[in-house]
Amino acid sequence: MPDLDALKAEAKRLLDEGVVEMIIGFKAGDTPLHPQPAFFKTVEEIDRLVYNALCQNNLATYLTRFPKTQKIGMLVRGCENRSVNALVIEGQHPRDGLYLIGVPCEGIIDWRKIIEKTGEEVISVFEQSDNTVLVEAKSGYFTLEKDTLLHESCARCIHPNPISADIVIGELLPEGDPTLAREQVAAFADLSLQERHAWFRQEAERCIRCYACREACPMCYCEECFVDHVSPRWTESGTTPAGMQGWHIVRAFHQTGRCTSCGACERACPMDIKMTYLTEKLNQDMRQKYNFEAGMDTKTPPPFSTITLDDKSRFIV
């Protein structure tokens, strides 16, 4: 865990010296399992800054709300850093208008897994240095292995370290194993077509179309989403099979070459719908076909917006 005091000190310095006008971070939530994204504008407010493994949102999703002229400081983990880079490439905020406070990330805890393991309401959660989590629940204390609580996309994370932060607070972590994500996609691809379809249908058809996945995603910043388009209406509007499946198919596809595998969509979903098996497939394809990973720098645009005539060999079907 990074030193919270060092984090606060840096945040205070940035506000105090006027480097940034605002810092996007987290504060303690009103419920024990949900720290909240927070926007700090004064040095005094920074005292409320928290950072722990329960901070489940991708803060980059807030970036597009602010004017491009605003100087913004932001707490970034590996995935958030890359989301910011991807947004910078797409012209959503100038990089020099940002000050990224990097934090090497040991993975986000899925609060649902805590409740699943304790089987009861949680009063408080403490992360301990030995990679365990002490959970105070109604009937007593539980000590849980942190690795068993990690969100799936964190368990297979490749780049836990912020790659282009202006300052990194905490020790850098070893890079993750890229084979995990690859194997996961391959394992799914090994299933029969019918099995894969059955899985997809079962996941998609629990959707209530609340669009929490869209709003939680930093890359979903469109002024008008394709589902809100009235004429022509691209997909069925309601929770019909065509509507729900259409939404999940296209939402993920629109992230091709832009998704940083942060998993914020899945964590936001109130219906526990799996979504990263879709985006991860696309990410793997981008890696294999174009040797591209989203957000690794602030210059290389995603494959769908780079068209070269070198592609021609692929035309031979």
């Binding site: 939530g29 009103d30 419920t31 949900h34 909240q36 926007f39 929490a212 309601g238 929770t239 964590r267």
Partner: protein, 340 residues
Amino acid sequence: MNLILKKDDLNHQLNAWRQDYEVYAPQSLQNYTHFLPLQDGFELAFDVKAHNTRIPPKALFLPTSEALLKFTRFGGYEQIPSETSPRLIFGIRPCDAHAMTMLDTVFEQERYTDPHWQARRDATLLVGLGCHEPCQTGFCTTVGSGPFNHAGLDAILTDLGDIFLVETLTEKGEGLFSQLETATEEQSAQASVLQQAAAASMPIAFETEGLKEKLDQNFDNPYWEEISRSCLSCGVCTFLCPTCFCFDIVDEAQRGERVRNWDTCMFRTYSLEASGHNPRPSRVERTRQRLSHKYTYWVDQINQIGCTGCGRCVRYCPVGLDIRAMLRKAHQLPSEVAHV
């Protein structure tokens, strides 16, 4: 009248009802519970942590999507008959049942009644299950409901270990349990103690006295900006809310139907007009609408807070926003600001 239903006889009883009703009860679906029709060999699943099903049972009356009309070949419209087969919902929690009575005031009015809602309501019995161990995010007692509230129910069950104490609340409810033996006075007393203890164990989440006035008088206060700052403007809180009822009407040309879908005041497009004007352009106005609707407009309309404290919005908000905290904060608002 108080009756006794042995837990061992529960499945038998449910199966007996299945002769006459389509019986819905919480069953597990993925990681959560959901009201599903009972099939042979069913297994009930009561979520011990959250108590409530993930989607409120309002969805059985106002489905997430439903066709209102069909288009006919020659440019006309055809009604879709309302479902009227008898249904029984077993194990609905008092907060959700209470919400049904509030929604009735919207859908069943003197001048216009929603035929689909009414047909389903008339054909459905609600058998509730009280919460003897209240949930963490719930705050039913704060907003005038309670873990054993009777509103909207035909009968309510209290878990007494091996048995349920059944309190029948309507004639229809009595009919459902006519086979059961009467509870002893001790059993009734035991249930009553349990019910009171449950209600007493719930902290008062915020003061409701004077809340409406505070919100009313501070329509333009920066408070709204403060509480909505991290809101994502998704539909989780409203879609999972048992008292939210907004819907959209959309023509699905390809299906040849006019359908209604759940909609929410939290979406940007909800109030966006064709001219481009949007009365609630940002999360600030939308959050204000959501809170004000529940805590002031409903009060004006039916003299009840339009929230039954089920706690779903608190539990599932992707950014951990807590309506209880928002309303506690509202009490710090000034009281005597002139309404602009």
